[in-house]
C-alpha cells in the first residue's frame, strides 16, 4: 500500500507491536491514541460527534468491530496468504460491521437512522484496518483482542470528548441517559458547533491539547 506512513502502520508507536497486556492497553488508549495522536479514522469521528450519545454509540461500534476483527485476523494469521491479506481483512471487518449495523437496526432504529451511512463506513475506518494489519497479523489472539479493545476505548474517549464539547456549546445542554447538563439561560447556543466547521475546529484543538499534554513534537511523530 502506498499510504504506509498514514493509515496502515502504527505511526509514531514503534513500541506498540512489542508491548503486551497492560502496555498494549495503555498504548491504545493514551500513548498512541488512534484519534488524537495517530489521527486515524477521523472521517466518522467528525461526522457523528454532533451529539454525545451518537459519539458513544460510535465508540462502542468501533470497539466491537475492532475486537472482533482483531481476534479473527489473529486466529487466521497463519492461514491467510500474504498477497490477499487486505481483502481477507476487509471481509472479516465487513462481517462485524454488518452484525453491528443489523443489531442497531433491530433494537435502536432511531440511532441507526441518525448515524446513517457512518456505521457502514467503519469498514473503511483506518483504525480497524490499521490494527488488523499492524497488530493482529503478528500477535496471538488474546493480546490482539486487548489491542482492539484498547484502540476502541481510546477512540471512544476521544470521540466522547469531541461530542461533549460540540453538544454543550452547540445546543447549550448535553443530554445523556435522561440526565441533562445545562449551561443555563445566559448562554446563547452557537449553532456552528453542531455544523461541520465546529467539528473540524474542536478536533484541531483536541489534537493540539494532546500534543501539549504528551509533550510530544508533532514534527517528530510524523517520521
Amino acid at each position: 500500500m502506498a499510504n504506509k506512513n498514514t493509515c496502515m502502520t502504527c505511526g509514531g508507536s514503534q513500541g506498540l507491536c512489542g508491548g503486551k497486556g497492560i502496555a498494549t492497553l495503555k498504548d491504545g488508549i493514551w500513548t498512541s491514541n488512534p484519534l488524537a495522536i495517530q489521527v486515524l479514522g477521523i472521517c466518522s469521528a467528525l461526522a457523528v460527534t454532533n451529539k454525545l450519545s451518537n459519539s458513544l454509540v460510535m465508540g462502542v461500534a468501533l470497539m466491537f468491530v475492532c475486537v472482533g476483527s482483531n481476534l479473527f485476523v489473529s486466529l487466521l494469521r497463519n492461514h491467510i496468504p500474504h498477497r490477499i491479506r487486505m481483502i481477507a481483512e476487509v471481509a472479516i471487518i465487513a462481517t462485524f460491521v454488518i452484525l453491528f449495523d443489523q443489531f442497531l437496526k433491530a433494537y435502536y432504529w432511531e440511532m441507526s437512522k441518525q448515524l446513517g451511512p457512518y456505521v457502514g463506513l467503519i469498514i473503511t475506518n483506518c483504525i480497524v484496518m490499521g490494527r488488523a494489519e499492524a497488530f493482529a497479523l503478528q500477535n496471538a489472539p488474546l493480546v490482539s483482542m486487548v489491542d482492539g479493545l484498547a484502540n476502541g476505548i481510546g477512540y471512544g474517549v476521544a470521540l466522547a470528548i469531541i461530542g461533549f464539547v460540540r453538544e454543550l456549546f452547540g445546543s447549550g445542554q448535553v443530554v445523556l441517559f435522561g440526565m441533562t447538563i445545562d449551561l443555563g439561560s445566559w448562554y446563547t447556543p452557537n449553532q456552528l458547533m453542531i455544523l461541520a466547521p465546529g467539528a473540524f475546529f474542536v478536533f484541531g484543538v483536541l489534537i493540539a491539547a494532546f500534543n501539549v499534554l504528551k509533550g510530544s513534537d508533532p514534527e517528530e511523530d510524523k517520521k
Binding site: 500500500m1 502506498a2 486515524l40 463506513l121 473503511t124 483506518c126 461541520a196 475546529f201 484543538v205 493540539a208
Partner: protein, 207 residues
Amino acid sequence: MSETSAIVILIAAVFTNNILLSNFLGMCSFIACSSQVGTALGLGTAVTFVMTMTTMINYIIYHYVLISKEAAGHFVLVAADLTHLQFIVFIAVIAAFVQLVEMIVERFSPKLYFALGIFLPLITVNCAILGASLFAIIRNYTFVQTVGFGFGAGLGWLVAIVLMAGLQQKMQYSDIPKPFKGVSVAMIITCVMAMAFMGFAGMVTIQ
C-alpha cells in the same frame, strides 16, 4: 427526490453538500496528500473517476441484485432481500474496480499509470468512495441522479483537496505555535474552509 435534476444534484454535491467539508468523508487521504497541488490534483482526478464509476455499478447491483423483488417492483436477479450484504458487496466492488482500472491503465497507458497509478491503491480505503455509494442508496436517487451525485461528489472532493494543498504550500512559511503544527492546524484551516463553503448553502438544496 425523483424530481430533482441530476445537474442540480451535481452542483449541490460540489458546493453545498461537499462530501469532504460537510460529510467529512475522505479525510485520511485529505490530510496525508494535501501538501502539493500536483499530487492533490492527481489524487482528486483518480477519486472522481473511481467514484463516478463505482456509485454507478453499486447502484445497479443494489437495485437489480440485492434488493428484494417486492421492494423493487421490477425484475431482480435474486428474489430474496440481500440488502444487509450491501457493505461487503460495495467494498468488494470498489476494491475489484480499482484493481481492474490499475491493470488496464498500466497495460495501455504507462504514462497515465505513472501519473495516477500510485494513487489508485489509496482509493480503495478512501471512505468517500464507499460513502458516496451509500449516500446514493440512502437518498433514493434514480440512476441518472446517482451518476450526477457520484461525479459531483468526486469533483467536490477534488476542489477541496486542491484548495487545501494550495493553502498548505503557503503555510510552510508561517509561524505556527508548536502544539498546533501539522494535523491540528490543517483541521482549523479546514474549519474555515467549511465555513466558507457554507456560504453556498442558499444556492441549491438537496437533502
